[in-house]
Symmetry: C2
């Protein structure tokens, strides 16, 4: 029982540093790249000892919390520092982000209005402009003048890529139909659709639901053999929709699909959108980082034709979770979603809450500002180039392993492949029937699950149709190459680990068949 409540306030709110600060700092330094990815257990086993407890009356001792962090939280979560974790778009961050996060937290600015952020509002406008310039290439003068003009919105910081995509389609919806913000959609006579490829991120589907447009009104165009939107079908679909008086709200191009890293032909889509006067949105949440690489930015060619672009700095710009970005070619387009309030975010002010989906939000743009300064374009370029080179190395390892088969050639730094059980090796997958594909699929599913549960190495998995491989859906192993500490030897370790697990699986399958 805590005797004196007054001391709870003075203990935590005085200028003193917290007594646990050094301990946590040491834990983080030691929770390093040589540690396992996670405890050697699946999710259910790992959490089974961690029970619900109601809110306690009295404060816990600092040591209790430190023990819990050290002995339960750190070992039971995922060690992003491990070079053997190459499965998701989440990775190790540069060391300065820890300090910047302490800074952002201690300052606790609220970017919704200048009265609670002041110069950090301006810094956010600067870093948005910097990214805008990389994509749209306006002159320095445009941005120098633009950041001090409260009427102009070069972009918005969002909680993440999903929010950015929802906001982009929200703007496109309101722009397409006059008065829709006020009157709502049920007064709308025309059918309204959004067009994207079948590989669009699930947030586009979610946006259709959230925005009241309806998931069924998402028109998905098939992809070609390179997992890019089929332009011929796109053109004929637009023509057909137009002839039926359907209102096309937006056309979405993908710059780095989450499934396999494919990039749509942005230049051609952009031209089609211009000719048909449709809002062109590019989801560059994954691929956007390539803009920093002089060697590889040609992969994004045509992105500058977009009316809006989603970036997701917490991915390939290596800043923490919780920061996405939406950029606008037309700096007045965000007026379509403008909201103000009396006690705050006033009209004609610099209050950034006027034209964002969120209200109160942290100064997370400072992560990006400091990262760009500390790493420079060169740092990001090196990160991107290294990831891409490492991806090609892994492809070569897989091409040289009889146990594995590449499923989709990497366009960026995402790679899909399958383990082929012994009995199917050397057989063209196109000739396999559903039962056989199903067997290969469940083998890969088991392999991936066992690998995750081992805590030793990790790749993810996905399920998709690759027409050049099979007419049935394929469960693929999926590598996202972004951890800069992953070297060639680690790639070999991950593949070797999968071979070992697969051998155990093959044996147990044999045993099952025999018994």
């Amino acid at each position: 029982m805590h005797k004196n409540n007054e001391s709870i306030i003075s203990q935590f709110f005085d200028n003193m540093d917290w007594e646990g600060a050094d301990y946590i700092n040491n834990l983080l330094v030691n929770h390093n790249q040589d540690s396992p990815i996670s405890s050697h257990e699946g999710y259910q086993e790992a959490v089974s000892g961690i029970e619900f407890k109601p809110v306690q009356s009295s404060p816990s001792a600092c040591n209790d919390v430190l023990n819990e962090i050290e002995n339960i939280i750190l070992p039971g979560s995922i060690n992003m520092g491990s070079p053997l974790f190459i499965g998701h778009m989440t990775t190790l961050l540069p060391n300065f982000t820890k300090s910047v996060s302490a800074l952002i937290t201690a300052m606790n600015q609220n970017i919704v209005k200048i009265e609670t952020s002041k110069v950090l509002t301006h810094y956010e406008r600067i870093v948005i402009s910097q990214m805008h310039q990389l994509i749209f290439g306006e002159s320095d003068e445009v941005y120098s003048n633009g950041i001090i003009d409260s009427e102009l919105t070069f972009g918005a910081i969002t909680a993440g890529g999903t929010t950015a995509n929802v906001m982009a389609l929200h703007i496109a919806r309101n722009k397409a139909v006059n008065g829709i913000a006020e009157q709502g959609l049920n007064t709308l006579n025309n059918k309204s659709v959004v067009i994207c490829s079948e590989l669009a991120h699930y947030s586009i589907k979610k946006a259709m639901d959230v925005l009241g447009l309806g998931i069924n009104n998402l028109v998905t165009i098939p992809v070609n053999d390179h997992q890019k939107i089929n332009l011929k079908i796109l053109k004929s679909t637009i023509a057909e929709l137009r002839s039926n008086d359907v209102n096309i709200i937006a056309l979405v191009g993908i710059a780095g699909s989450t499934e396999c890293g494919s990039v749509d032909p942005l230049e051609e889509i952009g031209q089609i959108a211009q000719v048909n006067r449709i809002h062109f949105h590019v989801d560059a949440a994954w691929g956007g980082g390539f803009i920093f690489s002089d060697e590889h930015k040609h992969l994004l060619r045509g992105i500058e034709l977009a009316n809006s672009v989603t970036l997701d700095p917490h991915k390939q710009l290596y800043v923490p979770m919780g920061i996405g970005m939406l950029l606008f070619k037309d700096t007045r387009i965000a007026d379509n979603v403008q909201h103000t309030a009396q006690y705050t975010i006033r009209k004609n002010s610099f209050d950034l809450g006027q034209r964002t989906h969120e209200g109160s939000r942290p100064a997370n743009s400072l992560y990006l500002y400091t990262a760009i300064k500390l790493m420079g374009k060169e740092g990001y370029e090196e990160l991107i180039n290294t990831s891409l080179n490492r991806t090609l190395e892994l492809k070569s390892i897989i091409d040289n392993s009889e146990e594995f088969e590449m499923i989709s050639e990497p366009q960026l730094n995402i790679l899909l492949y399958q383990y082929i059980p012994e009995k199917y090796r050397g057989v063209d997958t196109l000739t396999l029937d559903e039962a056989a594909i199903c067997e290969i699929n469940s083998f890969n599913e088991n392999l991936q699950t066992k690998q995750f549960n081992s805590g030793k190495s990790f790749v993810s998995r996905t399920t998709l149709t690759i027409k050049s491989k099979s007419k049935y859906k394929l469960v693929c192993l999926r590598v996202v190459m972004a951890n800069p500490m992953t070297k060639t030897k680690h790639l070999n370790q991950v593949i070797q680990h999968q071979k070992t697990i697969a051998m155990e699986l093959e044996t147990s399958v044999l045993f099952e068949n025999y018994s």
Copy 2:
């Protein structure tokens, strides 16, 4: 020019600590409660020297960044530690949040799926359950079983209160109309509305726009003399809407209006909603923290009747920006907004991305989990009680100052008042004409702006109609009392500072009239 790119990666991604870490830590310890609120300049002056620069090729030296933080960012932003900053819902945070933020950043877990968060997914479910229990009071057993049942959703962590409110109305919308997620709203025949009081947060209006329901379909009910929703008008409005076959999607109750801290009669609204079978949403973004105070939680009576409740831990639960919460009475109601994707967030899994608006997001729930443990219910209770007592002290100071007049009696810890220029003192504001009110309003607006620009002390301002005071809109000074370091002497300092500024203003007005 940086000579060797490889070293950018090794410099920032090896296990080493960043060279600037200690310097930033020292800056934060010294940026204390005795520092001014901000540089003594308005926004435009403060940012005028901070210019746009394009992304540079080479990395900046660590010292450049540290200098910028020390000499531009810290002095030009708002010092939340200042006990004289009592104007917004953003305040000083407990000292352990800095360490927890470094922990969250270094771990960089992504809560969208268990493969990138594992035990922290479980921790999030625990802390949501703890808050759910405080509000809805289910037995420990319900939560012990519930957290290991992937089908049940006690609530969701969101980026903030706005996202929580949007999500609540999204769920209510989809629940109210079968198939709306798939078909969209333009197939809807009936008019669909949401009902709230005229003091509802602007995010409710924003939600009407985002969700395609239309801002014009937000039915706002007038408030009574206590700034609470007028129940008589509410009932007759519902009856009228129903007789016109209007679809009522949700009824929103406010537990702590942002304008003046008023709390709607939640119990009565809850009963009305039950009788009429309407989704009852309570926006407790501000007031929710009072649930921790045994002495004052009666102010939220009836909140347990809600179908959904918005909490905003970054406000009165003193954790950083970027964490809101939405709680559900019915743990299956979130199925109405379920989305899955193949490569991640799989159906029937514990992947929390299935039923949230956002995709990738940080493990910010760890802030709340550790704060609840370290401060206990007693700590939060002390914070809430202290804020409320300090609010009453300020009210007494204002009541005893001839220069000021209370505009709305504090129900929670928000307080509205006006400076009354000398010539209007002693006059009943109800008798004043528009020109006079306008003069008082612009005086208060000037006063508040000058106070902000001084950087010495701060209260905010808002504009609203208080029928018992005037039929015209009033510009009020607005105090949000939440900084635990604000003592009685600081209240006197803030008021004294306002008197000094007001005296200068009165003099300059006189001078203008004379010249």
